[in-house]
């Protein structure tokens, strides 16, 4: 086609202009289009170089990344080790847990399937809400637990109705179970979902539904009980669905832990005590904990499935604090049970000889203060043995004054008071045995008056029932034994069950003999404070010491008006304490009993101690506790 003239011939001049313009415009267009073309060609070149860089230069790196993408290592939890008691009885075990799971993508209508399921196994409203929440949160191929702990009957009904329940399957898992419920809760502890702080280096803890020990032996031996995670390498797609299994590595199952507590003895002890009472029974030769009972207690099974807010409120709002193990966390002034420490400190410091007497007129005057003896009329002349037997306060005021607080504290520390103990119960408190330096660190001076008060176990002392039991066992054995619970791990007996495993305390035999004889006298001698605690003859004789500790200070005014402890409110009444070991000449058992607001150590705590001792002899006496490690079976 050719250029056709526009209009008539008269427009020829204009046509030429137009043609010239057209040429000019075309030239400009060509240049500009060329610029555009070069830019676009350059852009393509850039893309090519970019591809070269990604695919060739960095290709190897990305190939690795693609492989990592594809392969995912998944952990699975090994079975948790069990906790066995002294006789091999399971006190923390694993129960098979049959549960119903629903995979959303395997059913056409989730709502309808749930509806059918709840006709077979009724679901509560809160359960439905939980299921819907998990359904929303998870991807459609992730199984959601509809119901835990199915009964045989429920399982049978689900299986029969399987055609109407698309996407629902029954799965076997395990859950922690404590058959002794409240009886051993404070010793065994419990498991629960790991806390934020627990999530350390063990990848196992990231598994959903994993439980870790949160208290007691469960917590202390958590690593051993937990075992090592198994792993399976699987090929996954982008949303994490497993396409196939590539490799599998079995985990290491958790090991069984056998503890020294005897369940039946523990139950017997619990039967002897009331709310607010704590009793700790040790093997006096090696420090094994045979029973550790405190009331009230709790059911550790509740923690496994999650504690409801109402339950938690109930536990934490009461004054009796069921969750707290008062044997290791309750703090009490030791009262007169501490007097053996003062006596030993005095002997050690050579500030008196055993036969030296102190006359007790019923009080000791020092400076402007008068320190009373519990016997207002006075004990008369007292030597060390009779002072312990009669629990004469004035004698020990005087001894404390002579020996000084720091030497008393150091003796107490040697007997396990106010120091950390090696018990396998996390959170055990050290307690407090005051020293001059401790008081000065608080910016307060220490006076001789303070020392005098501390001579009878009053004042700043804060000691756990466990540490008092340890003191007693050390007095009985003369060895620096530690209280412990673990007898065997994975069937292998642990160190510490033989007396020779523990070093000698290094107190002169004569001193120890004197104290033991005096403690024997407390129960069996004339003029002792706890004749009521005498054992039936067939079990031999028990040695012990009473203690009564004021909860409130009794003022001089009150004392002059005639202070009657029976007339004051219960929570003002003094605590009753008793420490004892038996038999006195070859000690097997050492024990401490603390009865909160129990009034008088001898009258209240003494009979409890006696009854517990009888139970111990009946159950463990003939075979001798600690001789034999029970067979550990899986």
């Amino acid at each position: 086609m050719t250029w056709r003239p526009w209009g008539g011939a008269g427009l020829l001049g204009r046509e030429r202009t137009v043609r010239k313009e057209e040429e000019r415009r075309r030239g400009i267009f060509t240049r500009r289009a060329a610029v555009l073309g070069v830019i676009q060609l350059g852009a393509f070149g850039f893309l090519g170089s970019r591809l070269y860089r990604l695919q060739v230069e960095e290709g190897a790196r990305y190939a690795t990344l693609a492989e990592e993408n594809r392969v995912s290592a998944r952990l699975f939890a090994p079975p948790r080790g069990r906790i066995l008691d002294r006789t091999g009885k399971v006190v923390a075990g694993n129960r098979l847990n049959w549960r119903a799971l629903l995979v959303a993508e395997q059913t056409a209508d989730v709502r309808a399937t749930l509806e059918t399921f709840s006709k077979i196994v009724p679901l509560g409203d809160h359960e439905k809400a939980r299921i819907e929440r998990e359904m929303r949160r998870n991807r459609r191929f992730v199984p959601v637990v509809l119901r835990d702990f199915l009964s045989w009957e429920e399982m049978a009904r689900i299986e029969v109705n399987a055609p109407d329940l698309p996407g629902i399957s029954i799965d076997m898992g395990t859950t922690r179970m404590y058959p002794e419920t409240e009886n051993l809760a404070h010793v065994v502890g419990y498991v629960a979902a790991p806390a934020e702080a627990d999530a350390g280096d063990d990848p196992l803890l990231q598994l959903p539904g994993i439980r870790v020990g949160r208290a007691g032996v469960e917590r202390f031996h958590d690593r051993i009980l937990r075992g090592r995670a198994g792993a399976v390498e699987v090929e996954v797609n982008a949303v994490g669905r497993v396409i196939r299994e590539l490799d599998r590595r079995e985990g290491i199952p958790g090991q069984d832990v056998q503890i020294s507590v005897e369940t039946e003895l523990q139950k017997a002890v619990l039967a002897k005590i009331e709310e607010g009472t704590t009793a700790v029974l040790l093997d006096a030769r090696n420090g094994e904990v045979l029973a550790m009972a405190t009331k009230p207690s709790f059911d550790p099974n509740i923690f496994n499935s999650g504690v409801s807010a109402a339950q938690w409120r109930q536990w934490t709002s009461t004054r009796s604090t069921p969750l707290i193990n008062k044997a290791t966390n309750g703090l009490y002034a030791p009262g007169s049970t501490f007097k053996m420490m003062v006596a030993l400190a005095a002997l050690d410091a050579k500030v008196c000889r055993p036969g030296d007497t102190v006359v007790c007129p019923g009080h000791l005057d020092f400076g402007n203060n008068r320190f009373h003896c519990h016997k207002r009329s006075g004990h008369g002349a007292m030597n060390m043995r009779s002072a312990i037997m009669a629990s004469c306060d004035v004698y020990f005021y005087e001894m404390a004054r002579r020996v000084g607080i720091d030497r008393i504290a150091s003796m107490a520390n040697r007997f396990g008071l106010g120091v950390d103990l090696d018990i396998e119960l996390p959170g055990t408190r050290r307690g407090l045995v005051p020293t001059r330096a401790w008081r000065q660190a608080q910016g307060k001076p220490w006076s001789i008056g303070d020392t005098i008060v501390h001579g009878i176990g009053q004042g700043f002392y804060q000691l756990t029932p466990l540490s008092l039991a340890v003191m007693t066992a050390r007095l009985a054995s003369g060895r620096a034994l530690q209280p412990h619970l673990t007898r065997a791990i994975g069937g292998r007996p642990q160190r510490g069950s033989r007396p020779e495993d523990w070093p000698n305390l290094g107190i002169p035999d004569a001193d120890m003999r004197l104290i033991r004889e005096a403690m024997w006298g407390v129960i069996n001698g004339g003029g002792g404070t706890a004749g009521i605690a005498r054992l039936p003859a067939q079990y031999g004789q028990m040695a012990g010491k009473t203690g009564t500790t004021q909860v409130r200070r009794v003022t001089r005014e009150q004392r002059e008006r005639g202070y009657n402890v029976n007339a004051v409110p219960r929570e003002w009444r003094p605590h009753a304490l008793f420490v004892a070991f038996a038999p006195h000449d070859n000690p097997l058992f050492a024990l401490s009993v603390v009865v909160e607001h129990g009034m008088a150590g001898g009258a209240t705590a003494g009979p409890i101690a006696r009854d517990i001792m009888v139970e111990a002899f009946q159950r463990l006496g003939p075979q001798r506790p600690g001789q034999r490690v029970a067979e550990v079976t899986r």
């Binding site: 400009i28 267009f29 060509t30 591809l51 695919q55 290709g59 693609a66 594809r70």
Partner: protein, 381 residues
């Protein structure tokens, strides 16, 4: 009004058959080859099952081919004459999609026309080129130099850009603006006006950004820097780079791409189809595909240089730039070079809108080629 009726009627006599032979069949074969690459890639995206994506893709391409060849037969002068109608129609559709369109990925993007989903923003780019080419067709160098003459086409660009921004679809809005700018450039707008224009945008953008609400800013930040959102858009880019890189020189083989087949690649059948190709066929496959797409752009330039009329030239350069921007933005995106999303790879990605509009554009291009010597009337002073 603009075109002489007499000439139109005379040219119509050239005969459909004669025109049909004028069609550059090598270009049609090239398009078929590109679509075939798309078919193979979509076959892989569907894990070897053609029913998933590939079959639909082939049918759509077939439909597009017929549309393209049909449009090629229409006289370029008719097209030029009704260009403004096409433009207004495009704007009307954009308004329509804003009023009641379907929301996809947080933006109103398409409307349903019977069984077909149409993204008016795709169509708008073609219509904008058409409208601008018609506007500048008869403008002399002097006329283009007149700022007043530039105001109407500038508005014609800004209106659809604004509407697309409102969807919101920043990526397509930018591409639309750039296509418009390319036509302005080719039409002869003075370079210093370009400089001023870009400078003005450079100054205005931060000010506009300042005036935005925090949530709007956050949207732009994520949009511009997907790595700041590694589980959202950033995840896609990272996985795409892994897929590309692990493809290596020769690729993992057809259907062997782990990234794509294990679904690490998001949107593998649409925006990330190029990644699929690069993973399975390596650098060789990727560069081959890229070269084929480059040839399509080159053809647009050939049409532009061979056209005797400014309308055809501008149309071809605009359509070529549009196609180039599709390819560049898409490939740059999947290689993690630029942080833009939502742009398909034309003729290869799964999806009807882009395929139909691209083929429609090529229909216009072919018409410009077939009628490259047509008499289009004189320019105005």
């Amino acid at each position: 009004m603009i075109f002489e009726r007499r000439l139109l009627t005379r040219d119509r006599g050239a005969g459909i058959l004669e025109k049909f032979w004028q069609i550059p069949w090598s270009f049609v074969v090239l398009l078929c080859a590109v679509a075939a690459v798309g078919y193979v890639a979509l076959l892989s995206a569907g894990s070897g099952n053609p029913d998933t994506y590939a079959q639909k893709h082939a049918i759509r391409f077939g439909f597009g081919l017929v549309l393209m060849l049909g449009l090629a037969m229409i006289d370029i002068r008719v097209i030029a004459r009704f260009a403004w109608l096409g433009y207004l129609g495009g704007v009307a559709l954009l308004v329509l999609v804003l009023v009641h369109g379907n929301v996809g990925k947080g933006a109103q993007r398409w409307i349903d026309i019977g069984p077909v989903q149409l993204q008016p923003s795709e169509l708008m780019k073609i219509m904008l080129v058409l409208g601008l080419a018609s506007w500048f067709h008869r403008a002399s160098w002097e006329k283009v130099g007149n700022p007043l003459f530039l105001i109407p086409p500038a508005i014609a660009v800004l209106v659809p850009v604004g509407l697309i921004l409102k969807q919101p679809n920043l990526g397509t809005a930018l591409i639309t603006g750039m296509v418009g700018a390319a036509v302005f450039w080719a039409a002869g707008m003075r370079w210093w006006k370009f400089a001023i224009g870009f400078a003005a945008i450079g100054v205005a953008a931060p000010i506009a950004y300042e005036r935005l609400h925090d949530y709007q800013r956050a949207r732009i930040t994520t949009f511009l820097d997907p790595e700041s959102d590694p589980l959202g858009a950033g995840y896609n880019i990272i996985q795409s780079k892994i897929a590309l890189g692990s493809g290596g020189l020769w690729g993992k083989g057809f259907l062997q791409g782990t990234q794509g087949h294990l679904n690490f690649l998001p949107e593998k059948q649409t925006d990330f189809i190029f990644t699929m190709i690069a993973e399975e066929f390596g650098l060789v496959g990727a560069l081959t595909t890229l070269t084929m797409l480059l040839l399509v752009v080159v053809f647009c330039y050939l049409v532009a240089f061979r056209s005797k009329h400014q309308f055809g030239r501008l149309l071809a350069i605009g359509l070529g730039t549009n196609f180039f921007l599709y390819v560049f933005v898409n490939v740059a995106m999947v290689t993690g070079s630029i942080p833009v999303g939502g742009v398909p790879l034309p003729l290869i990605s799964h999806g009807g809108s882009a395929m139909i509009t691209v083929m429609l554009g090529f229909g216009l291009l072919l018409s410009a080629y077939v009628h490259r010597d047509a008499e289009m009337g004189p320019m105005r002073e």
